[in-house]
Amino acid sequence: MRFAAVLDGTSAASADVTATVVHRQSAALGAFLRGGLDTRATGETLVFYDDERGKDRLIELAPTRDVRLLRTGSRAFERMAALLGTQAEGGQTDLFLFAGGPAGTELATRLACRSGGEVLTDVLGAEAAQDRLSCRRSIYSGHLMGRFELSARPWCISVDLSWADSDEPEAIEHVLLSDTDERDGCGPGPFEDREPLESPSAGDLAASRLVVVAGSGAGDRRGVERIAAAARQMGATLGVTRPVAMNAWAPMDRLIGVSGARTAPALCIVAGASGAPAFYWGIEKAGLIVAVDIDEHAPIVRDADLVLLDDAVAIVEELAAIVAAEREAR
């Protein structure tokens, strides 16, 4: 089976393409190719870029040996889809792989529409059998796992970003096969005057090794702030559940779960969250899960390694004090 992995090097907010966003794409695709694709396959990476200065670094991030560079305008997704479509028309590529996230979803979908193929996003694993690709992804807000079969090629799948948290990739010797300028006729695009509003913290949440989650058991905004302060004291990153984010007790980019960040920390302390599947999906891969809740019947109790039945804010604050004291003593 032949595949093409697609890296979007045009979407970083800054010209610095070593930015987390491209790293995560690359890490997810690389890890998926090594561990999530249960089938023998050969392929190449197609890298879209818009700034000359970042080219070399982008090549280094490619998850395959063979790399093709295509220069387009920033976020020129329709142009990118058209270029991928041309490649698909050639019939050589069975599978196009994108990294999960808004850009990957857009590209995968537009390509499938254009080329008569099929698209599936947030894929956790895939295997080809006979003439089909069988993929796994979560459904019903994390309550169940679904298996889907794709038949019409090209298969356009976006890889669940949790793949980015797997082991360190091996260094690859890259071979640049081509570097073409595809900006011709690329208009300015339908969206203008793009301004970043705040520095992204979702990236650091998804990559963090130590996470403290505040749920509605924190009681109110003040409770969440206290948990946040304790998290900082411990050197942990704060995540929150949906009720907390929707109440604006914490910024939306702290949201963990099916509709937010997926984390894979070594240690995750869940304070005052009952552990509904849609949230738990975001912490499933944590090494050690500690649940703090006053309700012994909350699902998180059963789904955690260690359980403390007590007030979320009180416990987290005490723990932070202990950790801080220990650090000072060392």
Binding site: G215, S216, G217, R222, P243, M246, N247, G272, S274, A276, D295
Partner: protein
């Protein structure tokens, strides 16, 4: 000469020690209100006088000392345990009040499965007691929606009632004995006996006193066997409330005791049952439980009664069972509802009354029609009957309105109190009671004399006898303006 805030705090510290006297600003502000000021709470707008302190009582002796001291110095005290009150009963309406919080008195003292009684301190959460007795195959039978958060002391103080009352009764039927402390520091224990005729039943001075007469420190309640495997659910849709009330009456008069018997009007049904009830439908539902023979006979009896009403269309019992499993409050539901209110400024309020069978439908129709005509910005005006007796039933008005053009602190004056007023008027006019189970609190206290008529003499005398210095929860049951 009223004590200063500092003097109040000092006095309390002298009794319980500094650790149990809470003066944190945020806690005091939050302690000045209960769910009556729900909208203000959600928007963090606080208008009630701030208490001087919250004192954690850890023993009956503590409570006695605190009350004696408060009585001596004329300090207004507000007894509190789970803090789930909805009628302003926990509001501090005078400056520098003291909240006596009994939630730390949370020991389950004994569970006696032979005599079918459980004794616990006032701060035991009902859910905790229920979970414990379930392990023994028993139940308290008491299941108000506040069960996950309410405590035993408050549940008795407010004459609370639960979802299964039609079988198990209200709290007044469940209480055996109790211990309460009065303003002079008198600790009174009422012993646990099944029944007696040794004078008037003095438990009823305590049950429902809403902290206006005494502080409840310990209660003993009956236990019942628990047979969830025999639960039977029944449901119908129908076109009008009059039929619904008639069916409920039939069921009660014929001696059946389902644990749940309800009829929802179209507005209220639309909130819960739109997946099987069409627009304009009322919903009638029952749950029968208990020993196998009883549960079956109850369900069969109800089926037979409703079968005689062809205008009732039966629905799959799975709808009723599914809905019922999801009914109690929990932290995330409360948070989600608060968030909804914050965004939409659409507020949900309730007012529950009781009356005999002849009057209940008239009260429902009249109150509903007047509210729709006289109150602006109503988005839903409906209700349901949920607690039936041989001689009548309750009506739980459930209504929503958008708060328009005023801040959250004016919601009560622009919408909530006028609606309560209409409901109380229409109920009193027809001889009903203006409060079935939430307690008078401070919200309905202005109607206390209309509610009692000549029997107000008894209530007033109780108040003067037990609380001559007027320190117990000023404004509750008897409003401040009435001497």
């Amino acid at each position: 000469m009223p004590l200063t805030r500092e003097a109040v705090v000092e006095g309390l510290r002298g009794i319980v020690g500094p650790d149990d006297v809470i003066t944190d600003e945020q806690i005091l502000v939050e302690s000045s209100v209960d769910n009556f000021r729900k909208l203000q709470n959600i928007f963090n707008v606080h208008t009630m006088p701030i208490p001087a302190a919250v004192v954690m009582a850890r023993s009956t002796e503590h409570v006695a000392q605190i009350l004696r001291w408060a009585d001596e110095h004329g300090v207004n005290v507000i007894p509190r345990t789970g803090a789930t009150a909805t009628e302003g009963g926990l509001e501090s309406v005078v400056a520098d009040s003291v909240i006596i919080d009994g939630s730390a008195m949370n020991e389950i003292v004994s569970i006696d499965a032979y005599n079918m009684q459980a004794t616990c301190q006032c701060g035991v959460p009902l859910q905790a007691l229920e979970d414990r007795v379930r392990e023994l195959g028993l139940t308290t039978g008491h299941s108000p929606q506040s069960k996950p958060v309410a405590h035993m002391g408050g549940l008795v103080a407010t004459r609370s009632i639960g979802q299964f009352s039609t079988l198990y009764g209200g709290i007044e039927d469940m209480v055996v004995g109790l211990e309460a402390v009065f303003p002079g520091g008198q600790v009174t224990r009422i012993k646990n006996v099944p029944r007696r005729a040794a004078g008037p039943d003095i438990r009823h001075v305590v049950i429902g006193n809403e902290g206006a007469l005494c502080f409840i420190t310990e209660v003993t309640v009956k236990l019942f066997p628990y047979f969830p495997e025999n639960n039977a659910f029944l449901g119908w849709t129908l076109k009008d409330m009059a039929t619904g009330f008639a069916v409920l009456r039939d069921v009660m008069v014929n001696g059946y005791k389902p644990s749940v018997a309800r009829v929802y009007d179209p507005g209220d049904a639309g909130l819960h049952f739109s997946h099987f009830a069409a627009e304009g439908d009322c919903v009638l539902l029952f749950m029968a439980e208990g020993a196998a023979g009883i549960a079956k006979a109850t369900a069969d009896g109800i089926q037979g009664i409703v079968d005689k009403h062809p205008e009732c269309r039966q629905v799959d019992s799975a709808y009723i069972e599914t809905w019922f499993n999801d009914l109690c409050w929990d932290a995330s539901k409360i948070t989600a509802e608060d968030e909804r209110i914050r965004q939409t400024h659409n507020v949900n309020r309730t007012t529950e009354i009781s009356a005999d069978w002849s009057s209940i439908n008239d009260i429902y129709q009249a109150a509903r029609a007047r509210i729709i005509a006289e109150i602006p910005d109503i988005t839903m005006m409906g209700g349901h009957s949920s607690h039936s007796y041989i001689n009548g039933t309750n009506m739980y008005f459930n209504y929503f309105f958008n708060v328009v053009g005023v801040g959250p602190e004016e919601e009560t004056s622009k919408y909530y109190l006028p609606i309560i007023g209409i409901i109380c008027e229409e109920t009193l006019k027809r001889g009903g009671s203006i409060v079935h189970h939430h307690g008078m609190g401070k919200a309905r206290a202005p109607w206390v004399k209309d509610e009692y008529g000549s029997s107000y003499y008894v209530l007033e005398t109780l108040k003067h006898a037990f609380d001559p210095n007027g320190i117990m929860n000023k404004g509750t049951i008897i409003p401040l303006s009435t001497k």
